[in-house]
């Protein structure tokens, strides 16, 4: 009997302090598989629209997938979903690597649905069949590492895996993250704030089962092939040696490294915050996730000018850019310190950096004063200011309290035209990629269910005329047969993004790592399909997986539609339609006309009504989720009857 059939879903009602275990049949697991689709199944079925994301009615769902925890690279991640408190009421989601996801599977569960709100701080303790809602008074207010140690001490077991919020989550910072192992973050869309609103400090897991593999030898074989060959792939090799911040030098050279709140894309001294420089200075070691040989994560240690604790890992590319160049900063220790604090307190580094960059631009334009900033000289490039602001945001002190709301809400509060510096989509701060240098990314920002997000699809720049041949070769199986310029905005580009989006969406449903499975990486699509088949025993294929991805995209869209979003919410900051002010990309801007035309074409291509942006009934039935169409109809979002 296939593995998925034996899956269990844990339901925890914190208000009633009740725990139950539910089962779903194999068709359910094959149709939804895990991650995004599994979470959205419950959110669409069980939650009504309009709930307060920080109220007890919101549901916080931890989900793995049918392949999570299998001993092969890229299957270590888990997903956290809820209605986002950061955005304009969208579906929120974030994934993290590490060891927590596999551990949940070892305990025998595919997912946890957390409902209600505890009366006082608690944490959830899961040890195989033993599930307890435990008091967390001794953890509240503590740094992440302290709390992790305390939980492990509580149970006398150092192998317990803890996913938890820090003080930022306790303080309902709208972009609070969830950390596991003190360094793997579910960063985006404020899942930590939802967790905080439920007074749930941590979910601690210890499991003793093995993940069932239908073809254990098949899984091992693929894992061995990957381990033996990944260094031959330029992307995986770079990740292994330099980590994700390898990207800094290239993007700066191209003029696409977000600098001073995206005013420009080039900064002198960028190399200081690159993976190469890190390797030569503060890097202790690389680290990896469960069963992965790539070890792309960084662990850094510094003494001056900032003391940086290696317990909290090291900065990724996004962090180096958000707390670095985007704040006008090129001091690696400062960036590493900012990163350490974000992890110590449970803050998303992207949104935190973006919020600080926003504040700096407001400051330099006289919209925020030194007094507003509590005496801090909030100019671009001020490392101490950045580090102080991270602390202030986590603790909601002074200006930090306002920035803890995210740039959209902060700009509203500040007024004075501050919104032109608030770079967000659907309320979420845009990450560290500039669509003026790769236009497909602009579509991603506009179309992403939770706004500013850079991993909704492989970036189109990876298949342009500068990309290595191996990338294009691996994209062919997705139907991408020819290169396309990074600035091309034709229907061909719309198609490319549409297809690539399915792919990343099914990875998010399988909780697969894009660093293992994207077309530009060492693992081929055939290997991925074989891996899913070997674990589940299902004869699957890329059609089924791509449609799984599209299903996830449409379920998320339906969530947003039900919440009242329309196509006018698919927009990106005005800044991207204005010229880059300096660097190699100086003068580049997106064409609004081309952008709008591409979006409209996307809706039609996606089977969405081009006037409303709402998925058609036929598309939802095509994706085998006709009940979602009925749900939208019930809420007046789809026309009745034949038309």
């Amino acid at each position: 009997m296939p593995f998925g059939y034996n899956g269990k879903i844990l339901r925890v009602d914190l208000s009633k302090r009740e725990v139950s275990v539910e089962a779903q049949d194999e068709v359910f697991y094959r149709r939804f598989m895990g991650g995004r689709c599994l979470a959205l199944y419950y959110l669409l079925r069980e939650m009504r629209p309009g709930v307060n994301p920080l109220g007890p009615e919101n549901k916080l769902i931890f989900s793995t997938s049918v392949v999570t925890g299998a001993p092969a690279p890229g299957l270590a991640r888990f997903n956290v979903s809820a209605k986002s408190p950061l955005t304009i009421g969208t579906y929120g989601e974030s994934q993290a690597g590490g060891f927590w996801g596999p551990e949940l599977k070892f305990a025998g569960y595919d997912a946890i649905i957390v409902e209600g709100r505890a009366e006082k701080p608690v944490y959830l303790w899961i040890q195989d069949e033993n599930i307890e809602i435990r008091d967390a008074a001794h953890l509240w207010g503590k740094d992440i590492a302290e709390a992790e140690d305390a939980i492990r001490r509580d149970h006398g077991d150092r192998l317990i895996r803890v996913a938890q919020i820090g003080v930022a989550g306790e303080n309902l910072v709208r972009y609070a993250s969830i950390l596991n192992e003190c360094k793997h973050a579910n960063g985006r869309s404020g899942m930590g704030a939802v967790m905080g609103s439920k007074e749930l400090r941590a979910v601690a897991v210890r499991g003793h089962k093995r993940v069932e593999l239908k073809d254990r030898e098949g899984v091992s074989r693929i894992a061995r092939v990957f381990a033996d060959s990944f260094m031959e792939n330029p992307s995986n090799k770079g990740l292994n040696i330099f980590g994700t911040s390898e990207l800094i030098d290239t993007l700066n050279e191209w003029g696409q490294l977000p600098t001073r709140n995206f005013q420009t894309g080039f900064i002198e001294g960028a190399h200081n915050i690159s993976g190469g420089a890190m390797r030569e200075t503060i890097l202790l070691r690389g680290e990896g996730c469960f069963a992965c040989p790539v070890r792309c994560k960084r662990v850094v240690k510094a003494e001056k000018p900032y003391v940086v604790d290696p317990r909290y890992g090291g900065p990724e590319y996004e962090t180096c850019a958000a707390l670095g160049s985007d704040c006008g900063i090129t001091g690696l220790e400062a960036v590493a310190k900012g990163n350490e604090l974000c992890n110590r307190y449970g803050l998303d580094t992207i949104s935190a950096g973006a919020a600080i960059a926003f504040a700096m631009e407001c400051y330099e334009n006289g919209i925020l004063t030194r007094e507003d900033a509590g005496g801090i000289d909030l100019r671009f490039g001020n490392e101490d200011a950045m580090v102080s602001m991270v602390e202030a945001i986590a603790r909601r002190e002074g200006l930090g309290d306002m920035l803890a709301e995210g740039v959209m809400r902060a700009a509203e509060k500040i007024g004075k035209g501050a919104e032109r510096f608030a770079l967000h989509a659907k309320g979420q701060e845009v990450p560290m990629h500039d669509p003026r240098g790769k236009v497909g990314l602009g579509m991603q920002y506009a179309l992403s269910f939770a706004g500013g997000d850079h991993i909704q699809a492989e970036h189109d720049v990876d298949f342009d005329f500068t990309a290595p041949e191996v990338y294009l070769e691996q994209a062919k199986v997705l139907g991408i047969l020819e290169r396309l310029d990074r600035l091309d905005f034709s229907l061909k580009k719309v198609r490319m993004i549409y297809y690539l989006q399915h792919h990343f969406s099914f990875l998010d449903t399988l909780c697969g790592c894009v660093f293992g499975f994207a077309p530009v990486r060492a693992m081929t699509m055939a290997q991925l399909v074989d891996l899913v088949s070997a674990v589940t025993g299902w004869e699957t294929g890329l059609w089924e997986l791509m449609k799984l991805g599209e299903r996830g995209t449409n379920m998320a869209r339906a969530f947003n539609v039900r919440e009242g979003l329309t196509r006018v919410d698919d927009r990106i900051p005005q800044r991207f339609f204005e010229a880059v002010t300096g660097g190699p990309l100086k003068g580049a801007s997106l064409s609004r006309k081309e952008f709008e035309r591409a979006l409209k074409a996307y809706y039609r291509m996606a089977g969405w009504n081009p006037e409303t942006g709402i998925p058609t009934e036929e598309k939802l039935y095509e994706l085998d989720i006709g009940w979602v169409a009925e749900e939208l109809r019930r809420h007046g979002k789809l026309p009745r009857g034949d038309d």
Copy 2:
């Protein structure tokens, strides 16, 4: 370098008596692969709409695919395409098995584009690099077997493979077929008439090259697995033992065996014309196509009441029903004789049988008289009448001349309400499956590019509640996870047909045999994907192949749109909306309202304009054939500009 890259396309201009060889690059082969897509590429690029299908401007394209001729089961078929002379001006296409397709590959060619018209009868002689347009005076008017023998004698080589028309093609019978080995027919949509209009009697091929295989051992391994296991699959086992006419008993039992021009679906004595009865009486042996162990083809021999020559093979299910039950006949030797004559003269057995059944119903209703029929008592069940009419049609004698035009044109000529007995879609006679017993088939008939055609998709009945578990298991990889009643006409059924159609369409582009590769057969989808990869060296997958299939469907649709067809042409005979008059299915009829709703849903699901049935620009770009949108726009079939 992948195999497809070395492909060659032969172009033969019969008017100018010129022969040339062309090449296409690897991206072309990967995007179009062969068969349907390759043919439509040239028809859409090079032919203007409105040409006379029987004039020199029509192009007749013989195409194989990148996998044809590889030594594995199901890869023996080839495709013939042109504008159809039988239909209302649609794209026409027909595929045949046997040995001719592989032989063309052994000679080094993927396709032949035949243009113009010869001044007098010719045949094409292809021996590797040697290509000749030769005189065919000695073949003209001859039976198929005589002509085949003559060509082999011409060149002193008994291994020459000959695809040829017979006297029916010479006489431009609108449903004339093309035969190879005297028994494998490109039967449907009148490709033999197009060949006849070009005065091209035959294409004779002898090749001495090997098909390049990137992974010869991989191909062998899959072929071995198939050979070792296909008898475990109920469908393949039945095909091996009984041939396709195994189906007769089941359909009759279900009340779905077309009888007396589809008036009913049950006939006493049906078992006489079944595969089981054939095996016990006139069967000499089973035969197969190149490299296939299933050997589903029948070879029969009889002495009385009809002498049947085994050289012309034996009747398939379609033939047993068309010349048998649909004409009210259950005499196996009569059916076998009718089949032999159809093959001897080059007539499509389905359209021939349907035309005779039409005439019989006209006769029984007094619309055709005994005088009209040249003294023949044309009542249902008259075996001699059926056999005589096959002769008369091929020779265009008497009433046969009118029936040689197909039922649509014959009914127009007859008048007197005869059109209510003319069971065709888009001008092509419907084959031997009744949509009142499996509603998805009605959609196929309506949507098929060339009208009445039963192999546009696996029949929905194969996934209903009576189907073996193994069928459903293999359909899961296409996204079909649950059974659906054969009479279900919901959006779920529309989706099922839509998906199954992609699958059959890519088989028609790969020139793959549906008896090898459909989800109800022994070959799994994973094996099929592996086979394509092993032959071509491309890491392909089901996404790419399913999109290939959808591309073919849309290219054919675009051909028809360019010819002026609209959604009102997507219709099926009124008879299917009326009650079956007897048998187990008595009283059953299609609901016109449900049918229209399903069609409209299909258009939306397919990315076609629901008002016009025309593919949207976005769908065509999505399928990587944006140039087809531009072509439609050039002909005023797509709106200009942004909308």
